[in-house]
Amino acid sequence: MKSLEFRAMNTSILLAAEGDDEALAGLQVARAFIEVCEKRFSRFLPDSEVTQLNKRSGQWQTVSDDLMDLLTLSLRYFKETGGLFNPSILPDLKRAGYDKSMEIIRVEGPGQDSGKYQGSRSAITDIEFDLSNARVRLPKSMEIDLGGIAKGWIVEKTANLLISYASPCAVSAGGDITFIGNPSSGLKWEVELVDPVNPDQISAIFYVGQCSVVTSSITKRAWRQNGEIRHHLIDPRTGEPAHTDWLSVTVISSQITEAEAFAKALLIGGETEASRLGSNNPELAFITVDRDGRISGSQFGKEYLNNYERILS
């Protein structure tokens, strides 16, 4: 198994593929692809497609097929999660202090709170699509953050690229992972679920085949603003960082963008919304870690943990 680790998208990237020279070539191509994608979809880069789209809210803007794909996916998951997954919360995220990349926040501190949530924000369903001319128009003053779903989308596309060089393969970006194929050793892919409170420790280990795994957590991208702990997961119902039942939610799905959207929605919605989302999507496999370190999850999530190793610390 060949692997390559590097930093991109403000997180650590791990690529792995079986094979010899072709695998090595594939890893380098995959790395270049990720770096190009980052420049297109980051909201922190002034020339990215997303930044340009946000700057021109209220006007028709031609977008690439990939950005159009991301926007239509976002709209779909907004509807499927009852609005809990909502990329149009960027103004609230900035208000909560996340107005620059996390690496800069850790050095310079967060932005200042610029007031309370007004509750008059446009919904993502108000975005107008002109598919035949590849154009979209954001409602005036709307700003979108495709951070999570774009990262998942990039991981999936990268894995599909890497598999053309070497099989099986895996792509991980900060814990958003897509596995294609199974290791030739006959074993499954081993995934360590990091303890959301003590990131040096592992809460559990589970084993998966071809699938995608995404974890959403409120502990990793967190900061203090005016003495109050804030995090990056905005509850669209309040416009404030979500008060959650759990510290992290891990979703296992065949599609990484679905896993990304539902991990966020479940973490924001908590147990109440989980039962509703679960009844609409009974095969949803998710694993939760609460504030006391207890692991729980959906029926399908438990099945992934049936052959797990509980780390007793």
């Binding site: 198994m1 060949k2 791990l14 792995a16 030739s184 360590e192 502990t219 991208r221 207890r294």
Partner: protein
């Protein structure tokens, strides 16, 4: 001097050809090896027999999610002790069998 060199070359050539021919004749007349398609059982190490794995749910009431969380599985296959020389699988060591990298999921 030229005559000496010519003689030496001729001598080397003739002895080489003669040696080759003698070797050929000897091999052609030597007895053929015994072809035995059914290997003797004495040459094969016995295969290890493993005891059946215990049922994971046996003895543990794992229908409760909390019980499941707090009961780490410790299932060890029981190898029969009389086996002395188990057959070693022949694995082609290549980079494909290098250890798998650790995949961690922690949220972002």
């Amino acid at each position: 001097m030229k005559l000496f060199k010519f003689s030496l070359r001729l001598w080397i050539m003739l002895t080489s050809v003669l040696s080759f021919l003698m070797g050929w004749i000897m091999l052609a007349h030597s007895p053929k090896p015994i072809q035995n398609s059914t290997p003797s059982s004495a040459n094969i190490a016995p295969l290890p027999t493993l005891a059946p794995l215990p049922n994971l749910s046996t003895g543990n009431n794992q229908s409760s999610w909390n019980l499941f969380q707090n009961s780490p599985l410790s299932v060890q296959p029981q190898v029969q002790p009389q086996i002395q020389q188990p057959v070693q699988p022949t694995i082609q060591q290549s980079s494909n069998f290098a250890p798998m990298p650790k995949f961690q999921t922690s949220g972002s």
